[in-house]
Amino acid sequence: MRVQMPAFRRASGGACRTAVNFLIFAVFFIPFYWMFLTAIKNLGQTLQTPPTFWVARAHWENFNRVFEAIPFFSMLKNNAIMTFGIMICQFFTVIPAAYAFARFKFKGGGFLFGLTLATMMIPAQLVFLPLFLMFSKMGMVNSYASLILPWATSPFAIFMLRQAFKQVPQELIEAAKLDNANEWKIIFKLMLPIARPTIITLGLITFILNWNDYFWPFVLTTDNTVRTLPVGITSLNIVDGGVKYHILMAGNLLLVAPVLVVFLFAQKQIIKAFTYMGGK
C-alpha cells in the first residue's frame, strides 16, 4: 500500500499537479530556450521591444563571429587537457590515500586525515594569490601545469572514497587473505571493483567542476595559449564598444553544448551516480 505523502499533493489531484509541473518546466527550460533564441537573432532583433519568441530566419553567422573572436577549438582542447589531466592526477593520489585512510591504522594517520578534511573547507579563492606569485616566479603562468597541479588531489574525493572502502565487510578482506591474496591484489582485484560506483561518481563530479571552472583558469592564464572555454567565452563579453548579446549568447550556446550533449547521453548514469552518492 504505497502511502501518498504530503497533504497538498493528495488534496490537489491531477490538474494542480500538471500546473506545478509546467511551472517547474518553465522555470528551468525557458532560460535555455531564450539563450538559444537570442543566439540565432541578429543585433536588431535582440533589441526589439516587445521581444519576439520566434525568428523567421536563423542567423547562423553569429557563430562564425564567435569562432573569429576566440580560438574556440584550441580552447576546447585546453579544456579537455586540463580536465582530463586533473582527473588522471586525482586517480593516482585519491585512491591510494583513501585506501590507506580506510584500511590502515598508522601513527599520524588521524592527524593527516584531519589535515585532509581541513583543506576540504579551504576555497581555491583563498590560495590563488600566493599560488599566482609562486607560478610567476617559476615562469609557469600560462602553462597546463599551473592549471592541473593545484587540483592534483581532491580532499572531498578522499573523504568519500574512504567511506566507500570502510563499508566493505571485514569478512571479505579475511576471505581474500585466506585466499593468499597480497596487499596489492586485495586493492586491485577486490577493493577497487567494489568501490567502482563511487569512483565513477567522483570522476563525474571532478569532470563537471573542472570543465566548467572559470575562476582558476581566469586568474592563472594571461593569454589564449592555455586558456579554457569558460574564460574564452567571457572575453566575448568585453568586446570593446557594444553589447553584442547575440554573439555572446551564440558563444554561450557553444560553451553549454558539449556539457549538455554529455549530460543527455549519460543522463541516467549521472543522476544514478549522484543518487548513489546521496545514499552515503
Binding site: 610567476s136 570593446d240 557594444g242
Partner: protein
C-alpha cells in the same frame, strides 16, 4: 637607487661605437604586446607586418605582435612576466600606469635614445606628452592616444529642430536634452559612470580629479559637487538616462536603438560608431565636449614603452621599432585606421590626412580639441582605487538617487583614511 643604476647601464651601451650593425648576423626577435580587438587589433597587426617588411628587414629585426586583452589584463601579465623574468621587448601601456611601472624599474627611460637620435619632441602635441614623462625623464612615446568627444545622432537632432553641429556650452547641452526629450521622446544623453569622462567635466570646471600634486582627491570639491548636481538634475527631469557601472554595453544598446541622441565616448571608437550608424540608418556627428568655464579634456589611450629586462641588442632593436611606430607616417596610418588622434603636428600636413579631414571632418574634431584643451591623467598608482570610489559615487548619485553631499563626503573621508594616494 634602482633608477640610477639603470641609467648608468644605458650610457655604457650608447658609448659603444657601432650602435647596431646594418645587417646583424642573426635576426633579433622582439615581442610586442597590445590591447583591445576589432579595428585596434587589426591596426597593430598591420603595422607590425609593415615594419617587418620594411625597416625590420633592413635592420634584421622581426617583431611578433601578441594580443593581451584589456589594459588591466596586460598590466597584470606584465607584472607576472617581470616577476618571472621574461618580459616582452615592447608593450603598450595605459598612460595612467606609466609612473608606477617606471618607479618600480619594469620599464626603462627613453631619454638617452631620444637625445641620441635627436627626436623632435615638440612635433608631438603638448597634451599627449604629460603622461610620457616621469620626474623629468621620458618613459614612453605617444602611440594610440585619444580624447573623449561628444557623439550626436544628427538625424534625431534635426527631427528635434536642433543645430546638428552640437551644443557649445553646458547650458546649451541642457536645452538640447530638454528639446530632444520633448520633441522626439528619446533621451538627450545616455550616460554611464565613466571616470574618464568625469575628468573632462572637472577640467571644464577648471579643476582636476586629484590635486595638482596628486596627494588628495577633489571628489568633495565644489566643482565636483556642481558636476554631480548638473547631471543629477537632468536625470531627475528624465532628460538623461544613467546606466550603472563602467561597462559600455548598455549605452550602445540605447544608441543603436536611437533611444538616445547624444553620448560621450572616446574618439578611438569613431570608425566603429560611424559603421554602427550606417548599419542602423542614422548619421553621427562629433563635437567638442561642451565647455563650462572652458573646454577641456583628458587624454587617454596608450604609449609605447621599453621594458628593462632584456639584452642590449634587443633593447636597441626595440627602440628602433618604437621610433618607427611613432613616426608621422605610421601615426597617420593608425589615426585614419582607428580614429585615435593624430599624435604629431607633422601628421596633419600629410596629403592623405588632409583629404581624410575633407571627406570626414569628424576625424579632425578630437584633434582640434586636443591641441588647445588636451590635458594628462593622474598617474598616482593609488588612483586605480580612487577611480572605483568615484564610479561608486556616480552609480549611487546618478542611477540610485543618493544624496550628493553625504555620498561625496563619505567617499572623500574614505579615500584619505585609506591613504589610497599615500606616499610609498
Amino acid at each position: 637607487m634602482k633608477k640610477a643604476f639603470v641609467l648608468l647601464a644605458l650610457l655604457a651601451v650608447i658609448a659603444s661605437p657601432a650602435v647596431l650593425p646594418a645587417a646583424a648576423a642573426a635576426p633579433v626577435d622582439l615581442t610586442f604586446w597590445y590591447s583591445w580587438t576589432d579595428k585596434i587589433q587589426e591596426n597593430n597587426i598591420n603595422l607590425a607586418k609593415m615594419f617587418n617588411e620594411t625597416r625590420g628587414k633592413e635592420l634584421g629585426i622581426r617583431v611578433t605582435a601578441e594580443y593581451q586583452g584589456t589594459y588591466d589584463e596586460l598590466h597584470q601579465k606584465l607584472q607576472a612576466a617581470y616577476v618571472a623574468g621574461k618580459t616582452p621587448s615592447v608593450t603598450v601601456m595605459e598612460i595612467a600606469s606609466v609612473r608606477r611601472f617606471a618607479e618600480s624599474g619594469v620599464i626603462m627611460p627613453l631619454s638617452p635614445y631620444i637625445e641620441r637620435d635627436k627626436i623632435d619632441m615638440d612635433d608631438f602635441f603638448k597634451g599627449l606628452l604629460i603622461n610620457c614623462n616621469v620626474g623629468g625623464t621620458w618613459y614612453g612615446l605617444p602611440y594610440l592616444r585619444s580624447t573623449p568627444i561628444l557623439y550626436m545622432n544628427a538625424t534625431l537632432l534635426k527631427r528635434a529642430g536642433l543645430d546638428p553641429s552640437g551644443p557649445k556650452t553646458w547650458d546649451e547641452l541642457a536645452e538640447y536634452c530638454k528639446a530632444i526629450k520633448e520633441k522626439t521622446g528619446a533621451y538627450g544623453i545616455t550616460l554611464n559612470s565613466d571616470i574618464w569622462i568625469f575628468e573632462a567635466f572637472m577640467l571644464e570646471n577648471g579643476a582636476t580629479t586629484l590635486t595638482p600634486d596628486e596627494s588628495k582627491s577633489n571628489i568633495n570639491s565644489p566643482e565636483s559637487r556642481h558636476v554631480f548636481a548638473f547631471f543629477k538634475d537632468l536625470v531627475d527631469k528624465g532628460y538623461v538616462r544613467c546606466v550603472a557601472g563602467e561597462d559600455y554595453g548598455k549605452v550602445f544598446a540605447d544608441i543603436m536603438n536611437q533611444k538616445t541622441a547624444m553620448f560621450f565616448d572616446s574618439t578611438a571608437d569613431l570608425t566603429y560608431n560611424l559603421e554602427l550608424a550606417r548599419e542602423n540608418g542614422y548619421e553621427i556627428n562629433t563635437c567638442f565636449i561642451p565647455s563650462k568655464k572652458t573646454y577641456g579634456v583628458p587624454t587617454g589611450g596608450c604609449n609605447l614603452v621599453l621594458t628593462s629586462r632584456q639584452t642590449d641588442r634587443e633593447r636597441d632593436a626595440a627602440w628602433e621599432f618604437i621610433k618607427w611606430m611613432t613616426d608621422s607616417k605610421q601615426a597617420a596610418y593608425a589615426h585614419s585606421y582607428t580614429g585615435y588622434v593624430a599624435t604629431r603636428r607633422s601628421v596633419v600636413e600629410l596629403p592623405e590626412i588632409r583629404t581624410l579631414y575633407k571627406e570626414t571632418p569628424q576625424f579632425k574634431v578630437a584633434l582640434d580639441q586636443l591641441e588647445q584643451y588636451g590635458h594628462g591623467r593622474p598617474m598616482n598608482p593609488g588612483y586605480a582605487q580612487v577611480m572605483v570610489e568615484w564610479t561608486a559615487a556616480m552609480d549611487a548619485i546618478w542611477s540610485n538617487g543618493a544624496d550628493i553631499g553625504s555620498t561625496l563626503s563619505a567617499a572623500d573621508a574614505k579615500i584619505t583614511r585609506m591613504n589610497m594616494l599615500g606616499a610609498k
